[in-house]
Chain length 468, copies 2
């Protein structure tokens, strides 16, 4: 079975045939760095991480680019509230994003361009659009002339008339009424800014680039005029990706991306998860209590185009399920392979590997691919033969790695809060021993704790302890 | 006493008088991101962190800029070895640098420009130097014409003749012999690169900026033509800072910085710590065993212009000393202030605060300022009066914060490795109890561990445990 991917552009699954043989150029829209990352960011990052890991595992040479939007009204406004520079705010949240991605075992992209690094090529892009008759200047702003591009709406399956009447109904504010746009659906390529605000000089005066322009420009500069896969969350289909297509395709007269792929949302309590609803969980807070593998399992056990309903129960179930895989995988490290693996075991592994790749070839159906991992995990414990266990465990580790699971063995890793609970127990045992005049035990406790760098101090209210 | 700072330019202490009243613009050279950060980076970062914290604490409006060098031969060569892009390598070590700085409680600078963000203004700077007759093109490279700048050598106290004869003696390689420089001490502003290598188009062809140019350009763009303080490690005096002065002062005809400040080295076993000697310790590995406060104390107990001899003993001593401060500071959080603080306590605190600021005003003498912290820590334990203890502890926390100490109470924070040792003890106590037929105790242990999420499993070889 060859790899099939669902293309938003054609609204159906298509065979995956890259433009240039084994070389795959792919781009996914990254974060706007103005706040902490939440589960929605984790899903987006993990889905694209798995797609590129799988493509690499089957032999493609992948160049994966994910951008960072570090100039944006949301960044500027948040920085103003906090009394720091937009630069400092963007750096802080870029750091936190990297920290979270690292903790989630999401591979760093091959290139990760930032908007502020691409101001000059963005200005150049606008200049070319104006020269080609697809954009116009008005009072220091530059707008894309949507009517000049015949294919506008092809990704989101809308036509210009619908969009125009919709846009007219939304004209409410004074600012909108005073708009100097030719057409209400025209979008900004360059926005004028006041001196003192964040901005750059340009042929149209001091200002900032529009958000849509960023991705078109980076793709052109880093990957080329036409790429294989362009992806992002489904909320980006319109207007963001539609506008990217308008910019790039009106200028280059070729398809911007051969395959457009979009992942669905994470819902918390049946509502779309978003900051405005106030119900988002940060990745950092989740990782304090759950492992990266647990979050990854929770996300990948749903196909990327279906919404995930996030609940405390589903998180707890994922934790238990990961522990089963971890136990099985640990045997790969512990056991030695002695002699040949029996043919029936080799066949069983080959069959499971085929189930895995068939599932992944079917539009990256990780929900089914994961069942292959559990099936291998079951086989590890169904046999008592160490050599067979080793073979199944090794196969499990191999496939798990393609999906980005670490299967790190955390069974012996006690967090500081739990360790405090264990220390309470030890002091309780010491108190009981002293009350029973069992001084051998209480001395043993004090001595062994001291060797660990923990001092026990007796006081009128009971014994306390302190780590040196 | 007014603030005195040692100025490398005049080779003496001078009164600190900023160019623009209470506004202080300062710049420190940041890391080249091609490897993990070591103790030398920690010293540099902590010294500049304390300088800017102290200036802010006495009422200056500080704008602090620290750059990131993300294009450099070292980065390009390392990336080639690892088979990844220079961009990816630079991002990885930028992330690690930020992670280490965050862990060290080093404040993020107000601006942190990266070289790759400043290619266009660097090209502009070179163009202006050529127009002004201070630089010349040769075969796609551009060199600064050192003979055109009369003050060359003023920072490092060398004259051009010495430098020229020194440079001639060092001409050894074929590349040097083929050099097209007018003068052996001339340095590159722009270096040509082959297509396919990392580079940017310029009026002199495809290439890369020289390292020295980066800081001159960023300072001009972000802070202005003349700033208050320019700092860095003492190894940067020549040629880096000397070349920055040549670039900026030949163009702007004014002093680049009013005060040039340089911190000394960290030596490990009496040798200069550097990667080439292979004896560096990474910040990350040090922080696995020592707190940020311990490393900060180790660094600040030596004046910034004296070398630090780094030994395991000095680290252990710093750890013990920090624990004393932590114990005293914890009383600030635990105790309430009841009634007025007696006059003698207020006076003692005021006197210690004056010792602290006199020391800091004396060219940031943190070695003496720290003794004020220990003196307050001693006073906390010399009195039994809770109200007095609280007053001393609060003063200690205030001053410690100016030096960037967190005094975070980690006495109850048991690391996973130590927790494993405690678990060994618990299972030993359970084994002893079972041998003595004390089943009440062994049941208590199993039950309380289960509540903590730790399962005990009996096996022929003895009991084992696993965290769920």
């Amino acid at each position: 079975m060859s790899l099939q991917v669902f293309n938003t552009l054609s609204n159906k699954k298509e065979e995956f045939v890259p433009i240039d043989g084994k070389n795959v150029r792919m781009y996914a829209c990254g974060p706007t760095v103005y706040d902490s990352s939440h589960l929605g960011h984790a899903r987006m990052a993990i889905v694209w991480d798995v797609i590129q890991r799988y493509l690499r595992s089957v032999g493609y040479n992948v160049t994966f680019v994910r951008n960072i939007t570090d100039v944006d009204d949301k960044i500027i406004n948040r920085a103003k509230e906090l009394g720091i520079s937009p630069d400092q705010l963007a750096r802080q949240y870029t750091f936190e994003y990297w920290r979270d991605m690292y903790a989630l075992n999401v591979m760093a992209p091959d290139f990760e361009p930032k908007a502020t690094e691409f101001i000059a090529p963005m200005i150049q892009f606008v200049r070319e659009l104006i020269d080609a008759g697809h954009a116009y200047e008005a009072n220091g702003d530059v707008y894309f002339d949507v009517a000049s591009f015949n294919d506008y709406g092809k990704l989101s399956k809308q036509n210009l008339e619908q969009l125009q009447s919709g846009a007219r109904e939304q004209v409410r504010t004074q600012e909108d009424l005073a708009s100097i746009k030719k057409n209400p659906v025209d979008f900004a390529l360059w926005k004028s800014a006041d001196e003192g605000e964040l901005g750059w000089p340009s042929p149209w005066g001091y200002g900032r680039p529009g958000w849509h322009l960023e991705c078109s420009t980076m793709i052109r500069t880093v990957l080329g005029e036409s790429i294989d896969i362009h992806g992002g969350g489904e909320d980006l289909v319109f207007p963001h990706h539609e506008n990217e297509i308008a910019q790039s395709e009106s200028l280059f007269k070729k398809n911007m991306a051969k395959y457009w792929m979009h992942n669905s949302f994470v819902q918390v309590s049946a509502e779309k998860m978003s900051k405005s609803l106030g119900n988002f969980k940060t990745i950092k807070s989740l990782l304090e209590n759950y492992s990266a593998d647990t979050l990854r399992l929770l996300i990948l056990q749903t196909h990327y185009r279906n919404p995930i309903d996030f609940t405390a129960d589903s998180l707890a179930a994922a934790k238990t399920a990961v522990l089963r895989l971890v136990r099985a995988a640990a045997l790969d490290a512990e056991l030695e392979q002695n002699g040949d693996v029996p043919a029936k075991v080799r066949d069983a592994i080959a069959e499971t590997e085929k189930q895995f790749s068939d599932a992944m070839d079917n539009d990256f159906n990780t929900a089914v691919a994961i069942s292959a991992l559990f099936s291998l995990g079951d086989k590890v414990f169904q046999t008592k033969d160490a050599s067979e266990q080793k073979a199944y465990a090794a196969a499990l580790v191999r496939l798990a790695k393609v999906l980005g699971f670490t299967l790190a063995d955390t069974r012996k890793k006690i967090e500081p809060e739990t360790a405090k609970g264990v220390m309470d127990l030890v002091l309780e045992l010491r108190k009981n021993a002293r009350e029973n005049k069992d001084y051998a035990t209480s001395d043993l406790i004090r001595k062994e704790l001291a060797q660990l760098g923990i001092n026990v101090m007796d006081a009128p209210g009971g014994a306390t302890w302190e780590k040196a």
